[in-house]
Symmetry: C2
Subunit: 448 residues, 2 copies
């Protein structure tokens, strides 16, 4: 984002705030679609609809395509039926599906019925795949060739698809029954002589199943540095193609989801400034309540040890420090393993390897912190208390690192998002168990 674009945005926002619609629309005309999207994503629902309707027709479609599906769905309600029908017709088949998911069933049906047969078939094909599968995100518009076709003829076929194919730079090679037998890049096509057969220049295909998880498919596309990834059905028949820009959007959503969940909230599904306050509260309140209920365990644990606390109030001074350090150690491990799982660096069957490593890491960290705690607390509050704090740090750090490391893997095995079990959950768990460890050690060392 350059300063010049930033100035434009400020100026549009000022104009809007003060009702100068003509001025706003004039400024908007000087912006590229990407920047218009930036502006729209910073506005409330009503202002966004107003501004959208001020856009020139040719820019409007490109802007609409670039908006989050939730925002598209909101805009649809502010437009006339025939405008919506035209917009919907102009969208790519793979862009229609996420929008349909946001609309009431009645509206969705009407829009689908309004499409010409061919477009409706392509859209229905994508709609048929399960939620979160790559089949829902792939594009059914691509150029293909076959092994026996010559390079020259293939180039001709590519030229015919220049306007509608999602990409022409990666061309899947299929046999007579549409089974994927290879992939050829436009670069390889240009390098070969026109008379060569595709068979002699194509590469082994790497493909994903249409029912595969969208995030995993996108990660494969990224890891293999592919511009496009063919998508097939169970019988290896080509059904679509995932382009790298769509893979990028999928990964971006997945990472926003992980970030939100590891912070103990549901993803907002909209840019932050475009999300109403009530929606922000909704995304956070359920988690916060669940965690508070979990945290009420700590009240009960402390209640059990209330007598110990009454005898030695000094013990209560170290409660936040000890459970805080446990929570931090647990978070460190949980975050590392959640990310490693997302990148496929660690797999569910590595659970024992991870446990072994995290026990050692936790023990090392706990020993370092514990020694420090023993020295400092021992000096200020006496050796006994120092010993209690030091020993608790060793135990809590080891426990926290192991639990933090293993939890995301357990979550993955239970088919729950590993990020769900990550930071806040671990913190709450460590708070309660850490307290038990603390008071048991205190009772043993202090003989109370």
């Amino acid at each position: 984002m350059t300063t010049r674009e930033d100035d434009f945005i400020t100026s549009v926002e000022d104009d809007l705030a003060e009702g100068r619609l003509t001025a706003a629309s004039r400024t908007l005309a000087g912006l590229s679609p990407v920047d218009v999207i930036d502006v729209l994503e910073r506005l409330g629902r009503r202002d966004r609809a107003v501004l959208y309707r001020l856009l020139p027709k040719d820019v409007a479609l490109e802007v609409f395509e670039g908006l989050d599906p939730v925002l598209q769905g909101e805009l649809v309600h502010a437009l006339q039926d025939d405008e919506v029908a035209r917009l919907f017709m102009d969208l790519d088949p793979d862009d229609r599906v996420p929008l349909l998911d946001e609309l009431p069933a009645k509206v969705a049906h009407r829009l689908l019925r309004g499409l010409p047969q061919h477009e409706r078939d392509m859209t229905s094909a994508v709609l048929g795949y399960p939620q979160r599968s790559i089949g829902r995100r792939m594009s059914p518009e691509y150029a293909t060739t076959s092994p026996g076709t010559t390079v020259g003829d293939t180039l001709q076929r590519i030229r015919l698809r220049l306007d509608d194919a999602e990409t022409i730079y990666t061309v899947p090679v299929v046999d007579h029954s549409r089974r994927l037998v290879g992939v050829v890049s436009l670069r390889d096509v240009l390098r070969a002589s026109p008379g060569d057969t595709i068979e002699s220049v194509m590469n082994e295909p790497f493909a994903v199943l249409a029912t595969a998880d969208a995030e995993l498919a996108a990660r494969e596309c990224a890891d293999r540095k592919l511009l496009a990834l063919p998508v097939t059905d169970n019988e290896s028949r080509l059904v679509g193609i995932l382009t790298v820009d769509d893979a990028l959007s999928i990964l971006e959503e997945a990472e926003s989801e992980d970030a939100a969940r590891s912070g103990g909230a549901e993803p907002l599904r909209r840019p932050y400034l475009a999300t109403p306050i009530t929606a922000v509260v909704r995304a956070r309140v359920v988690w916060l309540l669940a965690l508070a209920v979990g945290a009420s365990l700590t009240v009960q644990v402390l209640g059990v040890f209330e007598e110990t606390l009454e005898r030695m109030v000094v013990l209560s001074l170290f409660v936040p420090l000890l459970i805080g350090t446990g929570g931090n150690t647990g978070n460190q491990a949980a975050t590392t393993i959640t990310r490693a799982l997302a990148l496929d660096d660690v797999r569910p069957r590595d659970v024992l390897r991870v446990l072994g490593r995290e026990v050692r890491v936790g023990l090392l960290l706990g020993t370092l912190l514990g020694a420090l705690g023993l020295a400092v607390v021992g000096l200020l509050y006496g050796t006994d208390i120092g010993l209690v704090v030091g020993l608790t740090l060793v135990a809590v750090c080891t426990l926290a690192a192991s639990v933090g490391g293993v939890m995301p893997i357990v979550a993955r095995k239970l088919r729950v998002d590993p990020a769900v079990f990550s930071n806040p959950f671990i913190t709450t768990f460590i708070d309660a168990t850490g307290l038990i460890v603390y008071f048991l050690i205190a009772r043993a060392v202090l003989g109370i």
Copy 2:
């Protein structure tokens, strides 16, 4: 990752563990370079070097290119000088630079000196840009054309660069002094007639400065759904090109960094299983110590209120619950805003808008939780204690959401990674201030 590949990996790892090197190398021969990389990234340093040397020559280069620079640097130490020189020569100029950063200066110099003049010049150009700038990650190998050149001639020029250009699908258009004046896609070139000039088919260029932050440049490439982004110097002269696959790696690194920092640790810079335990401890211990020092504030705060605690030990029961809930609320806000900053949905100048929103969100959440707390705690421990807990929840949630929302923006303004100021830092801060709020409210309500 398919099950078949997973089986291969298990089999290679078993062979290695039991010293069956020939068997391991045979299995390895059946794997694609991407899968070999997967295997190597799961091994310790020595096993990795052994396995790497078992690879056939032609696979070895591709595997080496795909490894993290830190792992490349380690491998270099295990190979003979002439092998290293050959590998280094075969790398792309933009892949040489991250490796050089990992090597001792002496080795780096020797390798650079060993390059032919032209290759050395290209590598030095990339090396001249500041760390973390896109200049260091761009490729200096690209095809160009000029506005007056015909489409036919441009196609000829592209054909000449098929083997060495990083991409041929996006072609920057430069004038006689190498100033970037447009961009043309191979798709547009194929669509036009051979006699058309490039000027008639090219698009407005969107470019980034070579000194721009690498993450921001990569995000622009992703947001604009570009396959390649031209990189220019201060005078708009073309100096390189950023391809989408390199943009993806940059974003992936940035997200790993954010994830690690928001979990309160430094990024590992290596795949988890390939990182020695001591390196994991190093990545975590400094943060953990810093946070523990911060947390020692809570000991002091509680010390100040020790007398209040002695009179009413029951107050200590709610300490973990209250500071835990505050920490969770703060984390939710911090994670949301950190992610919004990364996606450019929120900018530093939005700080007051964010503050206004988060105060309202925090107040709403606090009121909900506080009402619940008042009811439940009031029933179990009496109205007075219920009132103290309820009021504290309102105050702490509001404080936590505001601090959590604003901190990442402050960090960005101070040019610190927003994720640094995120979760663990906020938790520690909220722990200490939350306690003060709690005891002040307790004193006021209970009259002690």
